[in-house]
């Protein structure tokens, strides 16, 4: 179990590869982002994206899952106040295999909640050609070791 104290500046967590499946991309887009380039392979191919492209929100959500699997799932995470920025740099196409990493940029104890610390990450997602498809920075709240006793 990872606590706030384990997130030292410069520590890097690598993601396990995830394949972007056509059916999952269409299911996500049908519910949340039903634009033709996210739903229809033909339309995607003739658009500037070059193929059936994942909604940026889908790529972001997949990035979240990769973070969970890489480290957040076995941590004292208490959620996130937000994302400073997200750049969808290249289209994510059906069949792409995504991987990437989260890098600890800084870690500081909360001023208002003694049991909690805030960790800022740089997250990058890349495709099978090594191209960065998404880059973001976000903060996550973690309980400190023995945080229960302090709170």
């Amino acid at each position: 179990m990872l606590y706030f104290e384990d997130f030292i500046q410069g520590r890097r967590f690598d993601y396990s590869p995830v394949r972007m499946r056509t059916d999952e991309m269409i299911a996500f887009a049908s519910e949340f982002d039903p634009q033709p380039m996210h739903l229809d392979e033909e339309v995607g191919r003739s658009s500037i994206l070059g193929g059936l492209a994942a909604s940026g929100w889908h790529t972001s959500a997949v990035g979240m899952r990769m973070m969970i699997e890489a480290f957040l799932g076995d941590s004292s995470s208490q959620g996130s106040p937000g994302v400073d920025f997200m750049e969808w740099k290249k289209p994510v196409l059906a069949g792409d295999i995504l991987s990437g990493f989260s890098l600890v940029l800084e870690a500081r104890p909360s001023k208002t909640k003694p049991a909690i610390g805030l960790v800022k990450f740089r997250n990058e997602i890349e495709n099978q050609s090594g191209e960065t498809v998404a880059a973001s920075e976000c903060s996550v709240m973690f309980r400190r070791r023995n945080g229960e006793a302090r709170s």
Binding site: F32, D33, L49, W57, I68, P81
Partner: protein
Amino acid sequence: MMTLEELYQTGRKVVTGSLTFTAEDIIRFARNFDPQPFHVDEEQARHSLFGRLCASGWHTSAGWMQCFLRFWKEEARRLAAEGLHAPKLGPSPGFKELRWLKPVYAGDTITYAVTLLEARIVASRPGWRINTILCEGENQHGEPVIRFESKVIEFA
């Protein structure tokens, strides 16, 4: 064809629609993308900072997109009825300053809105414009739960 700027004055907030987050939807989304205890299990959520089952922030964010597109489809229909063409919107290069201001709990209804902040012509691409929009959502108590700024490409 109308531009976004002609259609919506900069600075004017437009409500796009509402979405209710049921426990079932929250858990289904979270199991796929964000299976942290406070998003998938009511009992464990009670022992977290949130205190109750609440939606993944990515679910709340995707909900903004869902409501915007529903609104946009209606707008295109409304304009067509007046003999006008809605601008073509392209992919977004991303967003910034996304804040999940308050948890979205099971049963909450979020009302989303959009405000055009700035419209810029792209000098290198004739007919292209890049719009900066403010995206917001508030719960049934009028409390802001999400806000972010996004870019939207527009083609003439």
